[in-house]
Amino acid sequence: MTHFFADLRYAARQLMRQPGFTLVALLTLALGIGANTAMFSVVNGTMLAPLPYPDAGRLVRVWETTPEGHRFSVSEPNFLDFHDRSEQFESLAAMKDVSLTFVDGGQAARIPGLAVSREFFSVLGHSPIAGREFTSEEDQPGSAADVVVLGHDLWQRRFGGDRDLVGRTIRVEGRARTVVGVMGPDFGLLDSEYWVPLAADPASDRGDHWLAMIGRLRPRATLQQAEAELQRIAEGIGLQHPTLAGWGVEMMPFSRWLVRDSFRTTAVLLLGAVAFVLLMACVNLANLVFARASRRQGELGLRLALGAGRGRLVRQLLVEAVLLCGLGLGLGIALAYWGVLALQAFGSGFIPRLESVRIDGTVMAFAVGIGLVTVVLFGLLPALRISGLDLNATLRQGGRTGERGDQRRVRDALVVVQIAMAMLLLVGAGLLLRSFWQLQSTDPGFDAGNVVYAEIQLGDDYAEPWQKVVFFRELIADLSSRPGIASAGATVITPFSGSNLMNDVTPVDRAESIGAQGFMQAAWRTATPDAFETLGLPLIEGRLYDYTDRWDGPRVAVITRTMAERMWPDRPAVGQEFYWGSNTGEPLRVIGVVDDLRDVEMSSDVQPVMFLPYHHMPWPKMTLLVRGSGQVDSIARLVQSRVRALDESLPVPAVASLQDQVASVAAGPRFRTFLMASFACLALLLAAVGIYGVMAYNVSQRTREVGLRMALGAAPASISGMLLRRGAVLTILGTLIGLLGAWAITRLIQGVLFATEPLDPAATATAAFVLALTALTACWLPARRAARIHPTEALRHE
């Protein structure tokens, strides 16, 4: 132990004597360990940490699938069939988003919740901490039971955690609902803050796919068995109901549903990137330690001559590495802590389960683990090599030793590996940057500039369709007449909110030949006539609908260019008729074609969309769109005051800029690109430091040779050229290997790229150019220094 402390003191002295080396080594280690620890905390929190549900491995998410394999939500009758006929599940539940206005316990506010079937809580393995779950009677269609189970946060926030609330009624959406239970603080799913009975109706339309279905498998049931069982049930439903012939089911573990595959790809990609960064840091440090230890061979030889065993020598060198690594680990964990804070601040919205992302015991253990790996990579291996030095030769030369060919080759190989890894990261960052650029320059097809939006949900006071129509028509007319307002309209979904409404569409003249399955899927939007002008959607053909298209007149629709081209590729769409949903009943007549728009995902292909007059199909929840010339705040105040003027019982709607909403689509890719570009820059810096270190060491080893060559007539330019050539060879080799690696690996990130090929020539060429320029600059500096060495000094160099 005495020896250990002596070694530790000596190591500390050594590090303090070389502050430059110590600083570079510490920063390199801290950045490598910090970045890895921060990224691992994300992976651990989102993908490895257990879900907050007991025995979560048995939880699954279920979708229905179309004959073409597209995922769909589940219809109410189908859910009930799956629920009643399946045996592989301990419990099955369905749910759908609701957004209700809470009046009691503060200002009226619209709060997100879920309408859930009775077994919802047992599927998730939680019970209320006060009160009870829903009864079967409360979950029956037509049940008059107005009940609600509150989430812990909502209970605390609006009702001060009142324990006597259970059994009492509160006003929700203008109706009195009895609070039957309160859930615990650790329970939640998605953003829901309360739960009301779903009361799925077996008599409702099987084509209305609204519900998200979740289930808990029986203890010994497998996912495959359960999926096969539901598949058989789906086939049975298809036999009974021809419109659902060919439909099936798809199932995935809950954890995979909550943390999407695209996020997993991104997380693994970024974790791989930081692992590369750490590996590069280790390579740099190993090179630094090798170079430093080579210079200390005289000292080490003397220690051996004085009787130190080789083990003792290894320990001494290792203690230095451990000390350095310990300091780097401390700094790295501090950096990781700040990194996690930054991720929590900027990552909300695209990092799922963000609340689980933190530096906990597992993350600390990981950090210590990579610290140990780092010690082995940059400390132990050089220590073992140095301890094996030839004592006689070392002492004879007074510690002056040259670099053997095999040593040089190892160092060269390390630099090549570093450059290749930097190339991989640069190509990855370049691709993400290119993809982000493509995303930014993609036109959504509508003009979001100077438009604000507000989601307005009409309650039970607007039960009749005409009441909804009148409310929005009056509100829009009122707003449109105000100074500074160019136009106003309403549509059923907020662009890029994640919502989408799809249904089958079939041209009437092909209905017979196609059968019950439908020709294709199209998105549908019920929208007021003014919505087209407010969104700036250009009319291409025909006309737009207006209020002269009476609700009791012919059913009409305006469709997008893509829908027109797919439905009737060989003739004009205007005047054509098509079925919407099942191929029966009154068809819709196309009266106009507008240009395409993207309002769900910017990164996916343009989808076919149809617009239906709001006065033909009134909807309780609509998104009001207002185009004005003033500031968002002033338009927001106007909208809020006019809504309250029309109906003061409605909650004050939140108003936001549509342009900001469109920009938010790029937030996730921007964050991902920023992280990857940061890691790539770090890798570039490490590669530059690495090649500089190797070249500088090489020059110091070859100083005498440089002097000799100068004595023999080599001009300074010839000397720097000779040294630069070696660096250039390493750079070219590393870049080529990196390119090969990129060719193999970038395919894996294809899923997160938008309109960008895995080996996009511009991104790849730019990455290669930046890397080559940086590496050659790093080579040029020592080469230039070598060319300026005085030949007499060089010849005396030892």
Binding site: G402, G405, R704, E705, L708, R709, M710, A711, L712, G713, A714, A715, P716, A717, S718, H790, P791, T792, L795
Partner: protein, 259 residues
Amino acid sequence: MNDTQRPLIQLSEVTKVFLTDEVETHALGGVHLEVGEGEYVSISGPSGCGKSTLLSILGLLDTPTGGRYELNGTPVESLSAADRAHVRNREIGFIFQAFNLIGDLSVFENVELPLTYRDGIGKAERKQRVVEALERVGMAHRLRHYPAQLSGGQQQRVAVARALVGKPSILLADEPTGNLDSRNGEAVMALLDELHRGGATICMVTHDPRYAEFAERKIHLFDGRVVDEETLNRLRAEEEQRIEEQIASRKPAAADSAP
């Protein structure tokens, strides 16, 4: 140098001052020296007298602080680094005490090195000249070997071949036998003698009087100045006298302090 010999090297009032931490060290103090074509000159003197500095200036590895230096009739004391490299390559052949062969290069490649810094010499001619140079030193049979596979004497012969291959005007040898045993040392001296008899101009720094005898003219350096043999002996005697007096003056004090 006799009157018939064309002067190859002409130094007049050459000085060299090194500045280290504000301390001036006068390595050479006004050296006059002429070396004629075909002459064999040895430069000797005690350690620190400026032999190596003088050789560095003669070989254009260093520039004088003052004075003039003409090589082959051309002033060279204020050439640029690139021009000095050019002149070194064509006019001067170096033989070092430590051989200075590059370990990664074969014997052939080591000898070829000066020619690679010269434009206009094709591969075939380079090969021919390398082989010729190696034949002159008796090492043509080892051209594929590496320095580590040769004895010290053989390495120095290869170094001599490298100095010869560019057909320089003058060979500068810095303690060429310093790293060799007496047998190999004598062999190298015999080789230089043979080259001299073949017409080569040689300027050799040595501290060994036996090897200095091989030269036809001996130059002595003392405290950075060229002195004749008589002056050298006088200066040496004065130096020895001074040292003895210093030792004698310290003896009583040493005796007093003895236990």
